[in-house]
Amino acid sequence: MKLRDVLFIALIIFVTFILLIPTLLGSIGATPPGDLRNIAKLYLYLTYNIFNKSFWTASPEAVTAIVWDYRGLDTLYETIVFYTAIIAALMLYSEILGQRDVVGGIGLSFIVKRGFSIALLAIIAVGFSTVLHGMLTPGGGFQGGAIVAVAPVIALIVFSRKLFDYSKLSYRLLVALRSLALTGIVLVPLIPLALTLGNGFIFQNQVKTLARFSYPSTIIDVPMGGSLLLLNLFEGIAVFTAFMLAFIVLLYSEDLSKKPLEGEDIGY
């Protein structure tokens, strides 16, 4: 054991204790606090308060209500970060986007293919159920999108690239779908503003004292949460297509992926 290692171990333990002391003294202590912060109490109390409808979100699930209504703008900008990160990853491969891979590949054995094709259906059903029940049970656009994204990613490995290169769900269609979903996310908050001729709020969900616009609070026979269902659906599609695009591009064979680097080997 060298001196360097001992020093690092000592440093790690020291940092942990330094962090632990203010946590103990200041915020949570040896047991967690008994009471919530006031803002959390307010959100919990108002999210499905059918007696005081001036602040409610028509959604019994507090997390979804905070994500897309109370702190909706926050999530909108997070979505922009998400969009930018994926676009940046795609831009590194801008020359080969949408091309068919040079290596065909046959995928894994047919036992895996047959077993997975059944699981594929189940994953998609579970994912979309999570997206569409985001305002009733745990779930929503981010969760469901991430669950559905698992399906095409594993399909890409199990069935090999050929399935995606020769299917109708091409690169262009995926990008179009993703752009449509993102346009939906932008439009849903703006619709109240347009329909009330400027008297509404951005990200207005239910009726307020100053602005008389509201999305429907129930859909068929369950609480809809107004715009929450639409935003969840669009976010789910955006997340799913974005991860699918990113993995399709990352899983290109080495021969094709080196193409964007050609001619760069002279200078750094």
């Binding site: 979804t64 779930g139 991430a146």
Partner: protein
């Protein structure tokens, strides 16, 4: 009633402590190991333990997204990376 709740609370605190203590060796192994593939697997085990911890902390929303992302997609992404850059750390 009061006694029952206190019992459940202590049980959950103990479970949380055990789960988080178990995750420490896996984190150390993931950082120390020279075999990158094994490091990915250790990190996936740590993610599984964390998802259990999040479930105990009553955050079902986070568990849903965390299982899909940190146990499913992220190890896959890292294994892809390891496959392309080579398995062993020099």
């Amino acid at each position: 009633m009061q006694v029952g709740i206190g019992y459940v609370e202590n049980l959950i605190f103990i479970l949380m402590g055990i789960v988080s203590l178990t995750s420490i060796p896996f984190v150390i192994l993931a950082v120390k190991s020279r075999d990158l593939l094994m490091a990915v697997i250790y990190s996936a085990v740590q993610s599984t333990l964390y998802s259990l911890l999040l479930f105990l902390l009553l955050a079902p929303d986070i568990v849903l997204v965390y299982v899909a992302v940190s146990v499913g997609l992220l190890p896959l992404l890292t294994i892809l990376l390891v496959k392309k850059v080579g398995r062993y750390e020099a």
